[in-house]
Assembly symmetry: C2
Homo-oligomer: 577 residues x 2
């Protein structure tokens, strides 16, 4: 915090500011208007916002913002650092130049692998970065107990212990929404811990409305980031929900936001978030800046697009010191060279010019080492083709096939030859396997999947929501074993294999989730993996295909290490009827 | 708090609600729209908000709201209970039927008389009422040390001790704004206590803009309730200030609010407050309901008028559980029979039907006795006409005359006859005296005042901002003594005297500020006092005349027990040049 006495002297004009940003056009998210302004900064705090004609604006450093715009630093109120696969310091270096100065992380991927130690690592690794990182405590570790096994399990005790840390700010997305609504003991106890402490309770609820949604809100969980349509924005806002609209490439709610904004001329308390952004998308399309850019391109008033990415999330995070350019608030602000393109000249974070013209002025540094357990997190022995052979003693089976990317389940009569289910003859099918990799059991869930596009070889990852077991999808059992073994050897990551050979490999040696590498380097690896998967036939988003397959809180049919899951019923189904 | 398990069952529709308000038109302050709704309440909490067609709306009590409107309970984020002169339980009985369900009090009148004990009394007297009373800690006791002497002085230590009580929520209006801006030690230390604790810092700053206003905001004090014009609303909102607009009869900012609303079609984060409302105005015009009624009458969309009196103040008070009708929030809500007149059918507070058709269903009860010191708070001996004789040894004086209700200072040559200043010959003049009444000294500030209207007799009060000394205004020294003595005898209040006789007396025996009486009874007394003052010539607002005379934070010239104050210079001036 800035020295109080000096701050007031600078504000009053009795002492020069540290940085003066002179004569920009301020996008004022408080009043939803644009006006000329000169801003004076004292240490980490905004000291004054004044008319550019004001004569008392001396400063040690003067930034001429003539012809440019000023906006508060962007605030991402819901995101998982692990989705970028970069350790926090590398993420900071990637998103500060894009204007993101505060994020609220939910480290639940790391929690599912390493438990409390994982959350602790993510907090320590993110502390004292030039990027302000707030941390929510993961609540669904695993997402649905009994339907999957992860590396750790959180009950009320673990959550309570993590909330004791003053750097944690609330409960991360309570994804077990049926558990909340139907009052299953584990999640009910966790929610009650959060209620007792009066912290922010964040949600995740998909495809549920009416009185069930009322019950979820009555529990005090009053946000969600799963919505993609304009009418839903109003339906949920009416009930007091903070609607967090994701701006991912595969789940882009910005058009819905713009439609809702057009309907009323304002957007209410809607917030733009990133949730999950893989490194190559971050590199190509941007991070939360993508949401702003896209909303402006689709016709939203820039100041309202910024409001949804600054002031409203700051309020949601109960941080009155953030989200606006005003005296007394933290000096997180952006100098924008081209508003239509949302191209930044400068990012100032806590009063420091941290990035200029797309580059960090001083890169963020590693804050701590990963814990030992993170560097040996794939607890599996080498696999053979036998491990991926789907067996039955019957002459034929009624095989359940996960179709339409998990939205439907089909049943097909399939021959059994020599004890093996003869699924290869269906060109649209592939075999999916989810191997428990945390050393607690030897689970391997297997099921057939149609419509993946895969024609040959195999792809695999250790980053698969939310238990982060080893997911393998293949047309060939030997290639499945090769893919699995490549990841077992390197400590996790993404791989594509064919004809017994690795075609592309991204190593993520920190818990099988992250690499201590710059985002741009990770992005190249991910591009290579996607291209390799494309050559094997997966034309569209192989990453999403693998990572969402095991998530038993996304409708309607999923595969975990425990087997095939009926999400609506929250029950396991045998692979064969 | 409602039982969690039952709350969720009621929300879901598995169990009947305690109260169902069926088929009203909900004024939805979250989305700024009106829509049909049925609301279910479980204990003190809203369980659901649903479509009136919803079949699962059983309840132990059903309120048919067909043809009526539903709105959240009103929230007054800045008010002084003492201004109504009723003890908290009587205030609750007066304003709950008018729809006010939450107030944030600043008990600084009581603090100036009784110190920490006074604040403690106001908190205890307000706890467990059906009206939710939040308490800010007074910061300016007295408003400006050195320019007045009150019954107590607060430094950082007293403020810190009061903030230790979990029922206090922040610093009450920091009125010593020049002290903040110029960094005087006492107020700087107090502000820093609030900053360290991260509580809400509320302000009071009048007639100050530009860089001085920036300095005040940089200190973290980010609200004000002294503004009465539309342009100021935007100027201050732009700087991140929560603009609290008072709706008092003598300081009515609602027309400015409506003008600002018309300019933009929305009002931003503006809040309606009452600040000070005397009992007869409360009885005649209403409390915070007056603001809503007036804004609607002047053309503001009802939902936006309500938003400024519910959701926005709830946010300002950092109470996400208040301010909207939504599942999981406190069941504070109003059933409005006539929206244009803002006439209520019913007030529900914490789930209880507490008032119906203007009457309490069960009146609030006294929570505690006033402390002993409160019942003997006028520490003065009987006065004589000699005590009110303005003396000089010079043959004539250059008398300083407070004119234009304190906005100007005039100097007039005035004769001295037999050692007494012969001011009576000027028909426009009256003599003002402010007697220290707290037993710490024998101060008596005296000065001449023009334009009060007083033609004969005297009026006096022990309720005079903020030190609450005994203020007497008279045309006749004997009547001034009679007025003073009447208040000394009864423990304080308001009085009008003429020809040696008391014409009207309102006794306020609790600290010379409050009476344990219903507001309607107090209102009758105040009407009688005003009529009596009117007969003595004070045509316009004798209460305001007396109570604002000694306040050294209101421009430009004031009289305290220390003498004549130049507010801008924050200095004392002799009565004669």
């Amino acid at each position: 915090m800035a020295d109080y006495a000096r701050l007031l002297r600078v504000a009053k004009g009795d002492e020069p500011a540290d940085v003066v940003i002179h004569n920009g056009t301020l996008l004022n998210v408080l009043t939803r208007e644009e006006h000329p302004a000169t801003v004076g900064i004292c240490e980490d705090t905004i000291a004054y916002v004044t008319d550019p004609q004001d004569a008392h604006c001396e400063g040690r450093r003067i930034v001429d913002a003539s012809g440019m715009w000023l906006a508060p630093g962007l605030i991402d109120s819901h995101m998982h650092i692990e989705s970028t696969h970069a350790t926090p310091e590398h993420l900071a270096n990637a998103i500060l130049p894009r204007g993101v100065t505060t994020i609220a992380q939910d480290p639940h991927e790391m929690a599912n692998v390493l438990g409390v130690e994982g959350v602790d690592y993510m907090r320590r690794a993110a502390r004292n970065l030039p990027l302000r990182v707030l941390t929510f405590v993961p609540t669904c570790v695993p997402a649905v107990p009994g339907l999957e096994t992860s590396g750790a399990e959180f009950g009320a005790r673990e959550v309570e212990a993590l909330l004791d840390d003053p750097h944690t700010i609330g409960l991360a997305e309570v994804m077990d929404y049926w558990g909340v609504i139907r009052q299953s003991p584990r999640i009910t106890q966790i929610v009650q811990v959060g209620r007792r402490r009066g912290v922010i309770l964040t949600g995740h609820i998909r495809g549920v409305g009416g009185r069930d949604l009322n019950a979820y809100l009555a529990a005090g969980i009053d946000s969600d980031h799963e919505l993609l349509n304009a009418e839903g924005i109003w339906t949920r806002s009416r009930l007091g929900m903070t609607v967090e609209l994701p701006c991912q490439v595969h789940a882009d709610a910005i058009p819905a936001a713009v439609e809702a904004w057009r309907q009323r001329g304002y957007l209410g308390d809607v917030v733009f978030v990133t949730d999950d952004v893989p490194p190559h998308e971050l590199q190509r399309e941007g991070h939360l800046d993508r949401a702003v850019r896209r909303a402006i391109a689709l016709g939203m008033a820039p100041v309202d697009a910024l409001r949804a990415s600054t002031l409203v999330p700051a309020r949601r995070l109960r941080r009155p010191d953030l989200g606006a350019i005003a005296p007394g608030r933290r000096a997180d602000l952006l100098v924008i060279a081209d508003l239509a393109a949302f191209a930044l000249h400068m990012t100032i974070a806590s009063g420091k010019i941290i990035a200029q013209d797309g580059k960090m002025t001083q890169p963020a540094e590693r804050q701590c080492q990963p814990p030992k357990g993170a560097l040996a997190s794939v607890h599996l022995k080498a696999r053979t083709r036998e491990d991926f052979t789907l067996r039955s003693s019957a002459p034929q089976v009624q095989a359940r096939i996960i179709a339409q990317r998990g939205r439907a389940l089909e049943v097909h009569t399939t021959a059994v030859v020599g004890g093996s289910v003869a699924w290869h003859q269906h060109p649209e099918w592939a075999l999916a396997a989810v191997l428990h990799r945390h050393g607690h059991n030897s689970n391997c869930g297997m099921a057939l999947l149609s419509g993946s596009g895969l024609q040959r070889g195999a792809i695999a990852t250790t980053y698969a929501h939310d238990s982060h077991n080893l997911v393998v999808l293949g047309r060939d059992e030997a290639d499945m074993a090769a893919a699995a073994n490549a990841l077992i050897d390197c400590g996790g990551g993404y791989v594509a294999a064919c004809d017994g050979q690795v075609q592309a490999l991204v190593a993520l040696p920190v818990a099988g989730l992250l690499a201590e590498q710059p985002v741009e380097r990770l992005a190249e690896g991910f591009e290579r993996f996607e291209q390799a998967a494309g050559r094997l036939g997966v034309a569209h988003n192989p990453i999403r295909l693998l990572t969402s397959l095991p998530l038993p809180v996304v409708p309607s049919y999923r595969l975990t290490d425990c087997g095939l899951v009926d999400v609506e019923q929250q029950a396991l189904l045998p692979a064969f009827e």
